[in-house]
């Protein structure tokens, strides 16, 4: 194709100029990729640290009754809801443990251990001792362990609000990574907690996670659960309701990231179209000859569109490589001595491909401006000049 061939030759004939503009685009795209991926990575680690290894949707009792009866029916109704991943139940209650001269408030969490373990990853977080083997055992968190100064096998007296005292054996210590949990949760079996608080066969909550890629649809899934259950005695909450600040923070980041990318893109378009407009002047002689030889307006315009496309293609590709390099370099540079990174790198292929396509198409579009300008060029003016 002649216009493509001419575009290539024009770009090659001004190597320095071409290299400069390609370099400019590459820098712009690399900034875009670097900033974009950095913010995406930041958001993902923020979201993970807030709601990872935790239920994202919870069903709680409403009103005076602080327990849910006939919960097996609800669990069965919930199971069919699309987008849910794991489901478990819990019977929890406030209690306290004595410590020297004072008492410490705790939250006894009676789990259906196997299913709850899949949500919280409790067994993986046990750093000393072992899992629960009997109804008389509990697991306590790192902070509480340090506070009480207890050891595996010690007996822990748990004081219930009704004044009862029950002795449990400490089977293990866990660390779930969240201070408030490590300090207050005393984990035991569902049945043990039900007996401790006199719930009989009732529970205090159904906990659920959603599919990994649907984290941000938790509110919609929760609404569907509400519909499926249709029970006034319970309410459905999801992480988005409880983390409004986090969400608006994320949104703010996304907006500022988009603004940066928009500005970068706009400068790319301006740069390319102005450089290519200079090319129209530089190559007006050639364009005049081509027109005198009968090149069509369409093909004459295509010369500039192709120049934009080629410049964009090389610039965007180099820019993505550069941006990724920058990101890895930043990651290594900011990593701690043990090798834990400040931020996780998350390679969002959609984002990269989108940036690539957008950079190339805007660079191609930028070629339209000089292309229009080339249409006005009159071959007679060129031929007269000599």
């Amino acid at each position: 194709m002649l216009p493509l061939k001419i575009a290539t030759r024009f770009l090659k004939s001004g190597k320095g100029q071409t290299a400069l503009i390609v370099f400019g685009i590459a820098i712009a795209v690399s900034v875009q990729i670097f900033v974009g991926l950095l913010i995406i990575g930041l958001q993902i680690s923020l979201v993970n640290s807030t709601i990872g290894n935790q239920p994202q949707i919870t069903i709680r009792p409403t009103g005076d009754t602080n327990t849910i009866k006939n919960w097996e029916i609800i669990v069965n109704q919930v199971r069919n809801v699309d987008g849910l991943d794991k489901i478990s139940v819990v019977a929890a209650g406030n209690a306290s443990v004595p410590n020297d001269n004072s008492i410490l408030p705790i939250l006894v969490q009676g789990f259906d251990f196997q299913s709850a373990d899949r949500i919280y990853g409790i067994s993986d977080s046990i750093y000393q001792g072992e899992q629960l083997k009997s109804l008389k055992q509990v697991l306590i968190g790192r902070s509480l362990e340090e506070e009480l100064g207890v050891e595996i096998g010690d007996k822990l007296p748990i004081l219930t609000p009704d004044g009862g005292v029950n002795l449990f054996e400490i089977a293990g210590f866990y660390d779930l990574g969240i201070e408030s949990i490590n300090k207050s949760w005393v984990i035991t079996n569902l049945v043990a907690a039900q007996r401790l608080f006199g719930y009989r066969d009732r529970i205090t909550g159904i906990i659920m996670t959603v599919d990994q890629d649907r984290l941000f649809d938790a509110d919609k899934i929760a609404a569907r659960i509400e519909e499926a259950v249709n029970n006034k005695d319970v309410e459905v909450t999801n992480w988005k309701d409880q983390n409004k600040d986090l969400l608006s923070g994320l949104e703010g980041q996304t907006i500022s990231s988009s603004v940066i990318q928009g500005v970068v893109l706009a400068s790319v378009v301006v740069a390319i179209s102005s450089v290519l407009s200079i090319t129209v002047l530089q190559k007006s002689r050639q364009l005049g000859i081509l027109k005198a030889m009968g090149i069509t307006d369409r093909d004459a315009s295509l010369i500039f569109v192709f120049q934009g496309l080629l410049i964009g293609l090389i610039g965007a590709t180099v820019g993505i490589a550069l941006g990724l390099g920058l990101l890895y370099a930043f990651n290594t540079f900011t990593s701690s001595a043990e090798g834990t990174a400040l931020i996780e790198i998350y390679i969002d292929y959609n984002f990269i491909i989108r940036s690539w396509v957008i950079a190339i198409s805007s660079s191609t579009l930028a070629g339209l401006i000089p292309a229009r300008r080339s249409l006005k060029l009159n071959p007679v003016d060129v031929i007269r000049e000599g």
């Binding site: 030759r9 005049g288 027109k291 005198a292 009968g294 090149i295 007679v380 031929i383």
Partner: protein, 235 residues
């Protein structure tokens, strides 16, 4: 048969002041003839030439090329006529500096065809051979002499086998020997390809090789005669 005809052509440049350059020009050119347009500098020869080659439009009057009325054509049709029917040779040769000699010759073909067949490539090489620069096909225009550039431009003008060749001072910056060669070349081409030649020149030698001499002064045709003492074409 008449291939090119101008009737009542006027050209007025309207800028800061009005400048009429051509006055009521009526001219027609028979197919397969060779005509010279002569006249002093500034008499309007190039303006006439550009109008004949539909690079420029007359202020009034009509141009007809190969039975097509120019004023009734759109831009695309005009581009097509320029590409297929007309071959230009400009005074300052105007090759594309980014392309080799051979590629320059091929460009008129590539303007209307996506690719070149081996046959087309052979034709381009053959044309370079006719103008005597077959050996230079891989050079860039900046790497050959002025006369060689001129000959490349002639080969390029012939590429699409046009029925009309318009040459504006084709020997303008060539020495007399090379000018003689170019004249002989035009004669050979005319015989071989049945082309109509219209040559603007103020070189008497060139004019003497043609069938007809049209003289222009101040935008008017002051004489138009057949060339009686045609120089025998030496081989």
């Amino acid at each position: 048969m008449i291939t090119l005809e101008l009737s009542g052509v006027n050209k007025i440049y309207s800028g800061a002041y009005q400048n009429q350059v051509l006055f009521d020009i009526n001219l027609s050119f028979e197919a397969k003839t060779c005509s010279a347009i002569v006249g002093e500098s500034g008499s309007g020869k190039s303006t006439l030439m550009n109008i004949m080659g539909i690079l420029d439009t007359p202020t009034s009057g009509e141009v007809t090329i190969a039975s097509n009325i120019v004023s009734s054509m759109n831009r695309k049709q005009m581009a097509e006529i320029r590409n297929r029917t007309i071959g230009f040779v400009f005074q300052f040769h105007y090759l594309l500096p980014e392309f080799t000699v051979l590629e320059n010759v091929l460009i008129p073909h590539l303007i209307h065809n996506r690719s070149q067949s081996g046959q087309v490539l052979n034709r381009a090489r053959n044309l370079l051979d006719i103008v005597g620069i077959a050996k230079l096909e891989k050079r860039l225009p900046t790497q050959i002499s002025g006369g060689e550039q001129q000959r490349t431009a002639i080969a390029r003008a012939l590429m699409n086998n046009p029925s009309i060749i318009l040459a504006d001072e084709p020997t303008g910056n060539l020495d007399s020997v090379t000018t003689q060669n170019v004249c002989r070349l035009f004669g050979e081409i005319k015989k071989e390809f049945n082309t109509t030649f219209i040559v603007v020149t103020h070189d008497r030698t060139v004019a003497s090789h043609t069938d007809r001499i049209v003289e222009v002064r101040d935008g008017r045709i002051i004489s138009d005669k057949l060339n009686t003492k045609i120089v025998p074409q030496t081989r």
